[in-house]
Subunit: 194 residues, 2 copies
Amino acid sequence: MDVRTLCLGALMGGEATGYEIRKMFEDGTFSHFQIASLGSIYPALTKLTQDGLVTFVEHEQENRPDKKVYQLTQEGRRTFLRTLLQTRPAEDRYRSDILFMLTFAEEMPIELTEALIDEFAARHELMSHQIDPDNEDKQGSPSTYGRDENGNPKPGCCFVAGLGQAMCDATLKFIRENKQGLLDELRNFKARKP
Amino acid sequence: MDVRTLCLGALMGGEATGYEIRKMFEDGTFSHFQIASLGSIYPALTKLTQDGLVTFVEHEQENRPDKKVYQLTQEGRRTFLRTLLQTRPAEDRYRSDILFMLTFAEEMPIELTEALIDEFAARHELMSHQIDPDNEDKQGSPSTYGRDENGNPKPGCCFVAGLGQAMCDATLKFIRENKQGLLDELRNFKARKP
DNA sequence: TAATACATGTAATAAGTTACATGATTCT
DNA sequence: AGAATCATGTAACTTATTACATGTATTA
């Protein structure tokens, strides 16, 4: 799924600037299962504008670049919906340097192993927070996303959020239950053959 | 983590061909948290050979290209271990078209939603299988990986495999418990405003 | 004082994927 | 008969990342 489609999807929840769209992928609704950086979002929005799938209104600001608030056109909405129906979703891909490194735990100092596990846990704790739809630290954030016009949470979003939460919880639980065991094993392992 | 490092890691478990290394990322030990395609593995091995980090022995075969069995050099092993100690692991990144699409469940036919969920479940079921270290359909596979010279499973590998399994299980459990609920909600949702 | 948030945009670069090229054997 | 497995390798292409460019206001 290319960044253009991702942007269309992001705008399904209402108008937003490029900067705000990035936040959805960094912190917000989509953060745990899609990524898109500013360097790809801005060109994508330009392209979408040329193709008539989005329009923008320029809001002047003091001491800042003009803010461009993008919105789907009818054509854009239709296109996105069509894409949804026609696209065979690509394989999920998860890549984790930490897990790869932990595979070689025997070869590194135990402190490093522990640090890696702790970092893995910390990141998942953070993710768990970001997913939480009730978590509105983001006071007045652009997050109409995940909710419809009446402020009701959308079932699809809830389901996906719940799934993300479940994955995080499982990860954290596994670490709680197995970290010490691994570290002990590693100490034995190293004692036997130094 | 670039493909070269990934290849070095793959060879930490013993000798292997480029083709076999790909399998480790496709089906094997690393499949659930790293990816590497043949088009990137072969050039990486060539580069590593030039740099003296790996060597290969050519085994002639009938009716096939000669098989190149790669092996770490001492220098290669040292380099990998150093990388392990020095690398700040990059952020984990998970991307899932299916989850992205499911976010928009309200906008598509219920059958599609269900199909997407089922496919997501099926893929995780498969992954769960592939992770399972006891799963030796791969009779006599090159998988010395995850085990040391004596055939003992390596604690680090077990931990990572267990974690992957836990994530899969959590995902499957969540789907079992929430799929019907979502579909019902969607039916209500659509009944209210068609 | 340094970093972060806000705000957009471009361009060089890096990186990997897909497709092409070749070809026998085995499974379905 | 067709697909998949084994086996390597190259090259065109796509794609996104990183860095650059610019600048204020707020927070730590």
